[in-house]
Symmetry: C2
Subunit: 412 residues, 2 copies
């Protein structure tokens, strides 16, 4: 086993020994590296008694390294991959969680807000690219038709402007935001509070499949991990920190979604809130935040959100697209066909031909060629641009050989 | 004609020569007193050319003093009265308009925001008492059912907590707020942008009559004055300055109601805004203010409004009530009957008897006695507590003898 593989295995084992976000674990990894940190914990050397007893409880139940090995095999079977801070696609922004200190409750989930040790990822897009221009849209599960409408419009509007829509995959506002982005043919990322093999809620299974196909499913928990209640709040810090800003659409009083917004404020991100009728219980939490958080900004739609995140986002390059150089070597008709494909989402052969201004035969021929060049992928719903290629820089992805799964498109 | 009468006449003439709020006129009155200020203007001595030509145009049309005399006669016939800064019931708070400087447009109505020279008043309550604990509720004429509901609830809730509800008597939000206050048996004041004999809009005539009966109609314009368009904005500064705070409920983009809120902010009053669905055109102005005015506070109901105005209002005594000493001399049954009457609004004889725990005959006898003592008034809709007595302090009201009109109750 290589050093890289050792380190990955140790990170996975650490997420099993203590919940993601545990500060003392993150500090140990910072100081000693993941392998030595794991050794120390397994030797009973945890720096505080809470962590010591958590580790003891776990190690009674199983062998941490064996659990981690099994998790990695399961990850591979799932067609998922691991991403760690050593990888080129690690989303740098989550490091801001080091500085997150939430005032108030003293609850574990508000104290243990360290950056993630690693991510499980399903989907073809490089994680850092997908999150570079991203906005979180979060809110109530028991959304009203009003909230659902607003979240769908926001999801659509942001995706249409090439912003990735990040949410938690829950019913209500989360689902509406994801769906809006998908409808726009845009990129959406669901950050889960459980293993990627058992996305919660089950009722959203079809939605999760669609998200994995064109966007990303993301989790800090190994396959098989259950969506335990505190994990949703632990997860929320990632939604807040991995994105450029967070929008809250509908929340009842003191809901989990307002906690996501508090975390966004805590890491200095634009925190935006959509107001609603004062007669609606589902807007009480939103209005509370607007009254109590001087840093929360009222927004009424996509334009306002772009105004807020644009201040930060305008310096960010839009996600890199398929390689430019091969394109220069294409013949005119092939170039026209490539141009005819929308930036995201797939379209049928007839539509490609019509948009490219070529006959069907030519379109089919050129699409086959482009598919050979890995510039186009063929999907059930038509032809699409291939996701951008892996970057060649060091520390490559999926060091255990856990590569892109069946849902991933061929790389250029 | 006494000096007091001269000064009143001069003030009335001045409101005719130049629109209320004209800073140069207010300054002259400050420096010279109203009589000398009027003389100076009529002699062509206006300090600036704009005012000089305004005065010239007016004096071509008529004799200012004669117009004023006629206005005062008409005021008396109307059952209205004049209130000037010399009167005990002058609402001191409007003096803050001296310091109002609105940024931005350079429009006349935003520059000429001096305090009023005098008020026309219809209704029995002393003006200062009615306004001491008062909140303005303003908003769109083309209100939605949502806005109408919220404004009615606010009007009711504030009146129920003994706050006077001030608004502009327009259709939509204004009417809803007035009606809510009336329903609660509370005090409401309509500040008009025209003469009290022609309250605008005509469709609210019945509402204006109800307001005059239990609350007050107020104007800076003499009887007969038309509701010219700029007068609504001139009037709005009084709504903002005469009250402890202003609540905006529904406003389309850049509406007049948002201007009232800007004036409230300009004189340092709590400026409150009720949000609404972002899908409603009638909430666009409200959300704009919340986004652009750091001093505007989101409120969702009466409790939030009281929280804001309470900071200022808690030091204010609640409006003084009917004399306490005579009450001490009442027999037990009469005291019970008096106690049975609600603080505002009238109730029928049967209800008085039931609440007082006495038989109908006794109730009727005691009510007659209390009416004799001017502690109770009999109205079309039943029996009510008499308005509080005039204060005995000097400079008394209605110096021209223009006393309370037919709608006013006897004074104790």
């Amino acid at each position: 086993m290589s050093d890289t593989e050792d380190r990955l295995l140790a990170r996975v084992a650490l997420t099993w020994l203590a919940e993601p976000g545990t500060r003392s674990v993150h500090r140990l990894v910072d100081q000693l590296g993941p392998v030595a940190a794991l050794d120390l914990l397994l030797d009973g050397g945890a720096p505080d008694s809470a962590l010591r007893s958590a580790v003891a409880a776990r190690t009674t139940a199983g062998d941490a390294r064996a659990v981690a090995e099994q998790a990695l095999r399961r990850t591979e079977r799932l067609g998922a991959r691991m991403v760690t801070p050593e990888d080129g696609e690690w989303p740098a922004r989550v490091a801001d969680l080091r500085a997150l200190h939430l005032s108030g409750t003293g609850r574990r989930v508000d104290l243990e807000t360290a950056p993630p040790l690693c991510f499980w990822v399903r989907g073809a897009w490089p994680l850092d690219e997908a999150l570079a221009r991203s906005v979180a849209v979060v809110g109530a599960r028991a959304a009203t038709p009003y909230g659902t409408h607003v979240a769908t419009e926001l999801g659509y509007g942001l995706a249409d402007r090439d912003w990735t829509v990040v949410s938690g995959g829950a019913f209500g506002i989360d689902s509406a935001a994801h769906r809006g982005a998908l409808t726009a043919g845009g990129l959406t990322v669901a950050v889960l509070a459980c293993g990627l093999d058992r996305p919660y809620p089950m009722g959203n299974a079809a939605l999760f499949d669609r998200i994995a196909e064109s966007g990303l499913l993301l989790s800090e928990w190994m396959p098989g991990a259950e969506p335990l209640r505190p994990r949703f709040l632990i997860r929320n810090r990632v939604i807040a920190a991995a994105t450029v800003g967070t929008v809250l659409v509908e929340a009842s009083a003191r809901s989990g979604a307002t906690q996501t917004l508090n975390r966004a404020i805590g890491v200095g991100r634009p925190a935006m809130v959509v107001p609603g009728p004062v007669t609606s219980a589902m807007s009480v939490g939103a209005h509370e935040v607007l009254r109590e958080q001087p840093n929360a900004r009222l927004v009424t739609g996509t334009a306002h959100v772009l105004e807020e995140v644009g201040r930060i986002g305008h310096d960010l390059a839009p996600p890199a697209r398929a390689p430019e150089r091969p394109r220069d070597r294409l013949d005119d008709e092939a170039a026209q066909v490539l141009e005819a494909l929308p930036r995201r989402k797939a379209i049928g052969l007839e539509r490609v031909a019509a948009r490219a201004g070529v006959d069907l035969r030519t379109a089919m021929r050129k699409l086959s060629m482009l598919e050979e060049l890995a510039m186009v992928v063929r999907r059930d719903d038509g032809y699409a641009l291939a996701p951008p290629p892996e970057r060649g820089t060091g520390g490559g992805r999926a060091p255990t050989g856990v590569g892109p799964g069946p849902s991933a498109a061929p790389r250029g």
